[in-house]
Symmetry: C2
């Protein structure tokens, strides 16, 4: 029984891996279930044994990818204690992960729009999820008096949107070469927007810059 489960799970995962590759290369609409079957070294029937349809594959893929990404985010956040540093770490790991996994980035930032109306609601949920993470730590920072009391939901949305645009531009044009280079110049702009003059790279909480 465990063997069966493992086997089934392994196949399930292999189909998702294949789907990610195919979707990232051809886009959702231009990918056929046959493509996915081929890429996963199975057959169309096999795919339909594990998933009820093409949409379901895409949704499952988004769910899996989002939960993995969120896990990473939570992991690096746990290593920081100051709220601002946590928000910064969350931001940084998202940028880094997408930089290392273009296919993932394509899926979330581009293909999800073209996959049809049905996915838009889900996509927005994911946006809200990440905005929520940022927001929560900004709230903490406000409570700690490290940054000014701003509309943290809006600020989170702005940060997310900024990242989104930068990564999307990078995905579609390849510029800047190493995506993470953006972060150094991005950081002061974002933090200034919430009134944190310029936090030190790590650890210690706010040092007011006003003389």
């Amino acid at each position: 029984m465990k063997f069966e489960q493992n086997r089934a799970e392994e196949r399930h995962g292999r189909i998702l891996d294949a789907a990610l590759k195919v979707f990232a290369r051809k886009g959702y609409r231009d990918s056929s279930v046959d493509d996915i079957a081929g890429q996963s070294a199975t057959s169309k029937g096999g795919v339909y044994f594990h998933f009820p349809g093409k949409q379901a594959i895409f949704l499952a893929l988004m769910d899996r990818a989002a939960s993995r990404l969120l896990d990473r985010v939570e992991a690096v956040i746990a290593q920081e204690s100051a709220p601002v540093a946590r928000a910064e770490a969350a931001l940084h790991v998202v940028l880094r992960t997408f930089a290392r996994h273009r296919a993932l980035a394509r899926l979330f930032l581009i293909e999800a729009y073209g996959a049809g109306r049905e996915f838009h609601a889900r996509l927005m949920e994911f946006h809200e999820l990440f905005i929520g993470v940022i927001r929560r730590h900004l709230d903490d920072a406000v409570a700690a008096g490290v940054i000014e009391p701003v509309d943290t939901e809006l600020a989170g949305r702005i940060w997310f949107g900024a990242l989104n645009e930068i990564i999307t531009y990078w995905l579609l044009t390849g510029r800047p070469g190493p995506l993470e280079d953006s972060y150094a110049s991005l950081r002061p702009l974002l933090f200034r927007s919430v009134g944190a003059d310029m936090p030190p790279p790590r650890g210690a909480a706010g040092a007011k810059g006003t003389p």
Copy 2:
């Protein structure tokens, strides 16, 4: 001959209007040329007489919409003299225009991604166009010493991305009810990001707000 030309132009425009409606309602991929023909009260053949194909209709639509939007932007910019006020005016008119024309917003911010790879390059050109407008006025502001010397291209991209996320969220969820309500809280965040403490609503350059 003149009659025919007017007639042809009128038809051309009517097809574009219809296409905007249809694309906004059903998305690019789920819209058929027959849909557009029906909505524009012509026939499929008629559509193909004026445009070489579905793609071309979408591209023409983007071009027309972008140039109209840019015209509006330039118009309001011309009414301001201070660079910061101009950047602000540009931002505001884009927000306002999209708020008033959901279909247009859908086209640029959502459907363009799903319309296929061929459109991505063009879409990025449009992004760059608007980012360029913002950037230019931020450059002026830096030159005038009104804001701090920041990476204005990145700042423009951040502003654009922030707007993008806010409008997209509004498009897909309907929140906040009146989109323009966001602007009041958005403004200070964006301007603080480039080191302009908090410019007064109109005209005069930076007045320090610190008590």
